[in-house]
Symmetry: C2
Subunit: 234 residues, 2 copies
Amino acid sequence: MRLLLISNSTNAGEAFLAYPQRELASFLAGVSEVLFIPYAAVTFSYEEYLLKVQARFRALHITVRSVHRESNPAQAVRQAQAVVVGGGNTFALLGRMQQEGLIAAIRERVEEGMPYVGWSAGSNVACPTIGTTNDMPIVEPASFFALRLIPFQINPHYTDEVLQGHAGETREQRILEYIEANPSMYVVGLREGSILRLEGDALSLIGSRPMRVFRQGESPRELSSGEDLSFLLR
Amino acid sequence: MRLLLISNSTNAGEAFLAYPQRELASFLAGVSEVLFIPYAAVTFSYEEYLLKVQARFRALHITVRSVHRESNPAQAVRQAQAVVVGGGNTFALLGRMQQEGLIAAIRERVEEGMPYVGWSAGSNVACPTIGTTNDMPIVEPASFFALRLIPFQINPHYTDEVLQGHAGETREQRILEYIEANPSMYVVGLREGSILRLEGDALSLIGSRPMRVFRQGESPRELSSGEDLSFLLR
């Protein structure tokens, strides 16, 4: 399997998909067209989202089609060279993917070797479930079960920062609740500016910041680019 | 109906349930025993949660029983003088309430006039759905449908603050997504330190901070204590 799972599309103060640009070019080398899944868009249209992604992929000399323009989205997945799943609201994204029959279609193709790129919500739906999303549950998907392209959970936009004077849970507290309720699962807190790349059975972290790994009964630990991550795939 | 819906149990730097103490005493005047619902607890036990609430309600001269000690939780609701639903993880809370048959039992009793107190997740489950929770979806409830004691949604712990340099959605952006996906619904952003009290058909905001009201197609507006909130009940 070939996966590029990006924490966030846009670092604060930078252009859309700017920091992952070099990694996208390397990961998608040889691909001339990708199929985009825009279903995480809620407050802007699928068409607007497509135009934004097209503008960015033009620099990579890659054409972008979008499933929202296709009469048969699952069939479009079966014929795609690569799939790119954009961020936004994870519940809206997963619900629509389920409705359109994209879960099975994407899994099959990715297992055959089709490259998969996701950022934010698009990285969350690559996990077994969407149980580690940060998003508001604005719509109810058929279930929380997602693509399960990897056997662990990602928390995108992972942050150590807390709002001063605010009594709500910190991100770490939320993940500690998750592992308490799901004791067999690893959770990777993927900080902004970070990417996980899977090539076959080789998983690597790309970026200058470590990721934070959580599992019930273990102390959270920090792992940096270059360290062995194979335990996450067992 | 009689409802006391509290944004958060604990303001930063204060004791548990300290700021709502006077309002709890007024709302529960004449009640000698409440039934506590501790199901939102995830990283601590229901028993620990009960002890914490008992300690606080002792000052009000009110005994606290908890449904987790009852062999028939729904029956305990039918016999309760008042129900108190604690905060924690909203998904865990709603899922367990559904499993134990508490949704119908609580609704019936509240419609008959039994006082209902909730804070944080306990205020969220009083809404039509849990679609405006801030919590991580660590477990999947049978559905997002909740008690529907009020016809609008509350976002507890509402905050205007943003993490500097973080690219994730602000709270307002998340609610704007919600109203886009749910265009007929009002959402009340209930800031920390704030309480909504319903007595029959009179809804009032208690606290020094305004609440922020959102609806699709309308500009968000700030409403303060003393202002007419009856439009939310239509």
